[in-house]
Symmetry: C2
Subunit: 426 residues, 2 copies
């Protein structure tokens, strides 16, 4: 074959480099207000007149005829099954017609064909947020617009449909308005329920392709309080043979594919007496996430400056946590005199050095499920790094300051724009 077998194609090589991110940007642009309209026509990026948008105002209501009793305080599951509230919201999507009217209906099983895309190709993503019964009697959700925006990012990344995040937020509020008063009653202040918006590819087709049918659903469940493990959270660093996420991957998206593959290492770490994996990245062992939570350390630099340090978002390895963002904002606003807030890459060796030199002050994991959870120990390659975590692991001072400020906002002790009050029907 002659050298001419290698031909310069019509376009430059530049646009070959970012196939995925340009596809993501293209799809996200469909939801920009500048388009004049949002669109459900996710698969081809072209707004079509007969393709319907996700529209919360079209929500239909079918109330349960078999209301269940709410569980006793602290009970979150029955025989290992998560307890959910009476209702859920579902909304079906197809590439051809866009979004059907969302339906509020009794919580119950989904019917999926055995060929459904989600069961084979992990075309699925989700969000997690909590609703809090305040000490003032009001029901609040915490910065839900953040979760709804991230849900769109995740959905597009995993080839599921796009939608206007505000519509998802309205649906979440609508479901809480119906189930909140009963399941998170006013006589149980200081408690929460966990909301799980989920999107799955439902097309009944075995080919490896973006599903042409999907379903969004929202459920409300009970969840254990996990922010106070006795003695603090104990982490085991990730093994060499398990990488959670990687540059060029999808670590920033809340897609199922980030979770299932990590369960095995987590299970093994638990069998060895640890709570979660501290995920390291790259040959230098950069600290990224703790379990499925963001991870923070507080240390003193060698110059004696106190810093709150967490991994940056720019290489998209880690989830842009809503709690993470809130922790950083509060620390900058309220601890500016005491602590410098730093988002940068840092390695497990730096953490070990700080510990060995007596400069490691605190550590915690942050996320919706684990809230702000003190870390008391990191096990790395045969060594244990002990970290001060207060009495019985309840948290050292900076951790507790941040945690208490967030508690006050969530439960209405502090009036704050992050706490969105849910209107309740009765």
């Amino acid at each position: 074959m002659a050298p001419s077998a290698l031909q310069q194609n019509g376009h430059s090589g530049e646009q070959d480099l970012d196939l995925t991110s340009s596809a993501v940007e293209h799809r996200l642009a469909e939801n920009e207000p500048s388009n004049g309209t949002t669109t459900g026509a996710a698969s081809n990026g072209v707004s079509q007149p007969n393709v319907h948008e996700l529209d919360a105002s079209k929500l239909t209501y079918t109330f349960t005829e078999n209301p269940r009793e709410i569980p006793a305080l602290g009970v979150t599951e029955i025989d290992g099954n998560t307890i959910c509230t009476d209702h859920m919201i579902t909304a079906k999507w197809s590439a051809k017609n866009g979004w059907a009217a969302p339906e509020l209906k009794p919580f119950g099983p989904l019917s999926l064909m055995p060929t459904a895309s989600v069961l084979h190709y992990a075309t699925e993503c989700f969000e997690g947020l909590k609703a809090y019964r305040g000490y003032d009697g009001k029901l609040r959700v915490f910065r839900p617009e953040r979760n709804c925006e991230r849900m769109l990012q995740s959905s597009v990344r995993i080839s599921l449909p796009s939608f206007a995040p505000k519509e998802l937020e309205k649906l979440i509020i609508a479901l809480l308005s119906v189930d909140g008063p009963k399941w998170l009653p006013r006589d149980r202040p200081g408690n929460f329920v966990y909301i799980r918006p989920t999107m799955i590819g439902t097309q009944s087709a075995l080919g490896v392709q973006a599903p042409a049918e999907a379903m969004l659903y929202i459920i409300v469940s009970f969840m254990k309080v996990m922010d106070k493990p006795a003695g603090g959270m104990k982490l085991h660093t990730s093994p060499d043979d398990m990488v959670r996420a990687w540059v060029g991957g999808f670590g920033y998206a809340k897609v199922g594919a980030n979770y299932g593959p990590s369960l095995l290492a987590t299970q093994e770490a638990r069998a060895r007496g640890f709570h979660q994996i501290l995920w390291l990245y790259g040959k230098n062992g950069e600290c990224t996430e703790a379990g499925a939570s963001n991870f923070f350390v507080v240390w003193k630099t060698r110059e004696g400056k106190k810093q709150l340090v967490t991994a940056p978002l720019d290489d998209r390895l880690i989830l842009a946590g809503v709690t993470r963002s809130s922790v950083l904002a509060l620390a900058k606003e309220r601890l500016a005199d005491e602590v410098e807030v730093v988002e940068r890459k840092y390695t497990i060796d730096e953490v070990m050095e700080a510990s060995a030199e007596g400069r490691l002050i605190e550590s915690f994991a942050s996320g919706t499920a684990f809230f702000v959870c003190p870390v008391s120990l990191i096990h790395h390659r045969g060594r244990d790094i002990q970290i001060p975590a207060g009495k019985s692991g309840e948290g050292a001072p900076i951790t507790l300051h941040i945690k208490n400020w967030l508690v006050d906002i969530k439960y209405g002790r502090e009036d704050h724009p992050w706490g969105l009050v849910v209107p309740e029907e009765h």
Copy 2:
């Protein structure tokens, strides 16, 4: 804090390195005959007397009362939905009781709670194999034991239960015995159906944890013939912003998490006129897989030696394809005088150089879905690499030799141990 904060733990750091692979080996060992018995007690690795194994001899039969018509030749879907046969097999598993008796029953929807593990955490894996109606009238499956062994590897990797692969094989044969005669009739020799064993985590619990309940199911479907795209298969190399699999990941396992995240780049490549992505790995751009198939090139070395080259399995980046293994074995056995068979890492630059120097002779993708599919073009960073692929892209000589040998084995023109004959009831 004193340096003593860094404590040597009871065990050495060595065992921290291979948390995942040691957990996998541990779980796989449960199914070794040396244990005396296989076990369904996957989650703790201890064989328990009351935990039942997967046992094909317990299969129950419930036949459909609404048999459907078989599709016309070449029809594989209706309105984008894959056509399946009349029946499926399901088997439920729980950590507590192990495997329930498998059931053959009418093909139909599955009922899953919205909280089911598979819908959130991608706790899912699958296999794909075909059954062929031979020109001698017999029904054959191709090396099914390979798929069943790989299914076990995948299941364990994604924290789903273990089982004896032979039992899965028996269930596949049992389903084909029932649906084969009708859906792949003797008057349609030279055709195939596609079998999809699938395992999903069904526990209705939202925590990020290995599911304590799961379901195995087997369905039989129709699938397009994909091994003869007009003009040959055209590949677009993977962008910098999308890595399919990575060392320390799970590229070798047939888990959903390998597929969903790749759909976006594939969709974008298709929009640009290509069939599949050629997945490159690492900063040197090693060629790994083409779409979800293995990838081969035939080139001449600068010394003039003809080689059939494909990526190695040892770093577990790629799927150990059954077709791949068969291609390599046939080439070694039947083309030894003509072609050297080489499993090694090779880069897109080497392929471009071979092309530019007139040494690139052939290329093909191999897999169950795409069989042996000639590749006629690779687009990389603005350049097109043209590859001889025979008249109309039907395949160059070596590709066609291998393909025809495999066709002969699958459709019974050659009696060969790889073609397992399925007993048929009528």
